[in-house]
Symmetry: C2
Subunit: 198 residues, 2 copies
């Protein structure tokens, strides 16, 4: 089995460029020609290297999770429930108030036509996974006494994520990092505190 001519570009580096385009215009708003232009490769190279548009989007989501959005995983490993919530929200603000603005998990494919369905399903599944991960993190905190007994951890996780999504939407609308951090301050000031006496 001969090896043949090697690829002349770096897969991940070009994937980063695709990621930026997807973040700016969403899955449906991005044309193949936008991608090939930004990535500096031709369509056949794109198909050979990544599959098709949907597969490229999926790979971009992976890269996004591991790179710009790695604060999500970081949050799950934070020492306290409060720190997890703060890491998540601050990370979202910092990420989404720089160009390209907006969270790929939210605006990548929120409502689509039929041909955007796979992309939409995929981002929805990833949002669900994030919700579940935070829920479990809060459940652990509850068991550790890091959250007051009786806390509705599912509703709390949903709240934190709802704020995180909402902040990213506001960021795309032009809100500044300072404005959004003040909102995070407000949310954190109301975050349930562990029971004083065990």
């Amino acid at each position: 089995m001969a090896t043949g001519r090697p690829r002349e570009f770096d897969l991940d580096e070009r994937l980063d460029r695709a990621l930026e385009v997807f973040r700016r215009h969403g899955y449906e708003g991005t044309a193949l020609s936008d991608l090939t232009e930004a990535m500096g490769i031709n369509k056949p190279s794109l198909y050979a290297a990544y599959g098709n548009k949907a597969a490229l989007f999926s790979k971009a989501l992976d890269r996004y999770s591991a790179g710009p959005a790695s604060y999500v995983q970081e949050a799950m490993n934070a020492p306290t429930a409060r720190a997890a919530a703060e890491t998540l929200m601050r990370g979202s603000v910092d990420l989404n108030t720089c160009e390209p603005r907006g969270c790929l998990f939210v605006q990548g494919a929120l409502a689509t036509g039929p041909q955007g369905d796979p992309a939409r399903a995929e981002v929805a599944a990833r949002r669900d996974a994030g919700q579940e991960a935070l829920h479990e993190r809060f459940e652990r905190a509850l068991a550790e006494g890091d959250l007051p007994a009786g806390t509705d951890t599912e509703a709390l996780a949903r709240h934190i994520w709802a704020v995180t999504y909402g902040l990213s939407i506001q960021a795309t609308g032009g809100a500044t990092a300072d404005e959004l951090h003040r909102t995070v301050d407000l949310v954190l000031s109301a975050f349930p505190r562990p029971d004083a006496t065990p």
Copy 2:
């Protein structure tokens, strides 16, 4: 000036059908053929009656504001800041957990390609207007002693709207009304209470 043959359909009733399609698939995800099929009219009739796709979307936004999303205005007229926040969030949950799910102001056109730019700008402007309206409502509440002195009303308005947006996104992902209302409970339990003593 002769009147000519009258229109055979009701403008607003067909606009409601267009609104439903836009809510399901967003501006870019909706094709003209989807619209004409759902509305039961032909393309030339659509153009004569509403202008073009962007104008139809704009009219659908108006109708959405005045109809399904009228709870937003209702919230601004609520007697207290807390009631305003509750009306907004509960209204969002109730609206977005029924088919078609999702808020048109959010998922109608969040990230788009070039030809979706006008629609995107329009929903962004309407979100901004909502933010400003709630901010002013909270400012009034502050002046009336309905919110504690020193409250960051802008951050509070941003928080409530962020939650509202986030809830609509979670609703499109399949969250139930009950789950989301529990989240609203949580947010309301942390809502600032008026100073006990004036």
